[in-house]
Symmetry: C2
Subunit: 240 residues, 2 copies
Amino acid sequence: MPSAAIVVIGDEILSGKFAEANASWLVGELRELGVAVGHIQVIPDVVEDIRDAVRADAGRFDHVFTSGGVGPTHDDVTIAGVAMAFGVGVVRHPQLEAELRAYYGELILPAHLRMAEVPEGAALIGADHPSWPVTSIRNVYILPGVPIIFRKKFASIRERFRARPFFGRRFYLMADEGSVAGDLDAVVAAHPGIAVGSYPRFDERDYRVMVTLEAKDQELVDAAARDLGARLGERVVRSE
Amino acid sequence: MPSAAIVVIGDEILSGKFAEANASWLVGELRELGVAVGHIQVIPDVVEDIRDAVRADAGRFDHVFTSGGVGPTHDDVTIAGVAMAFGVGVVRHPQLEAELRAYYGELILPAHLRMAEVPEGAALIGADHPSWPVTSIRNVYILPGVPIIFRKKFASIRERFRARPFFGRRFYLMADEGSVAGDLDAVVAAHPGIAVGSYPRFDERDYRVMVTLEAKDQELVDAAARDLGARLGERVVRSE
């Protein structure tokens, strides 16, 4: 099962200036694609933090997506951090430089050309529009922090990540969560390979606990759902 | 300056079933209290992941807040993970046990008593309501995942974390971000101790870049703001 991590680089999130909007969106996209997200982090605009976070997650997960820190200003240090994660230098990419020069013309400044920098050995991917390539090195995909551009760039590469889908069932219970814990333990034990989640809620009118069953094999999910339904009986208000 | 990390434990966030609501709220509370959040993580309901995340962040930050994984079911493994982070065992806390027995009476089940477990050496804190203590060990505060209870519990301990406040100024610019990068570099160099952020936006009608200045010393912020304002001149649409 392909796995992924998301590393959000942004003092503006950590200081509460902007609500996080990229990881919270991407996690749904990746789930829909059949990719299991195993780690989300928000870290500051500090090159060593980026180096450590990217290095660790790139070693543990199949794909790593970064968000933010790729503009022209002093606080944009993601390229340097990712380069350090892999022990490579930072170089100017000819295609990005040409695009920036074409866009800014005579008004181009050294700061703009920072946006042509990539970790040495990086590739530009994403084919649907030549002006919106995604910089990628090994299993790391570097995306910008501005949400509308983050989404546009991810859309241009999303089909690369499609895998077998997840199947899931949800049971809504009118019951105290502790009183069903034993039934859930029995289902967990009898159905290895099924992820069983239990989520109490105190502000819903018609249920107290949502129980979820998930796996990549629909038959496994169906079997666990039959078992769970039989155990819980009338405590199940509805299921979907 | 006191620092903090937030560790959200929850498969339901990583799988996109629930939107993250605790870290995104707590980050604003901590900022308002004068605490600098340096790391936010979302990790799965896996005891080793909790151990590693809590151990690393407890060593790097003054305060660590965990969210989730403290209920009665099989997927609630935060107490075990935090205990492992500090190399201690898990014990049943007499006060929590007494409260649970009083609440459930004869209907109490072994699963309910899991909610009386704490890492060995943990304290119960938060004085405003005896039924809502927060379990704390060393610099780690263990909070539940259900948002309304998370907020209620944090409210009972929040004043413990109050520190000198942050002061900030914001400048809204009608300018290309790259064209102001040099001015920002100069302000960063001339005003050490000021955090300078630059945030391009492409969907706002009246500005293209928001620049933020922040520090714990209002005079430093005011001096940097005068400098920045003089450098940017009419490119500043408004400031606050």
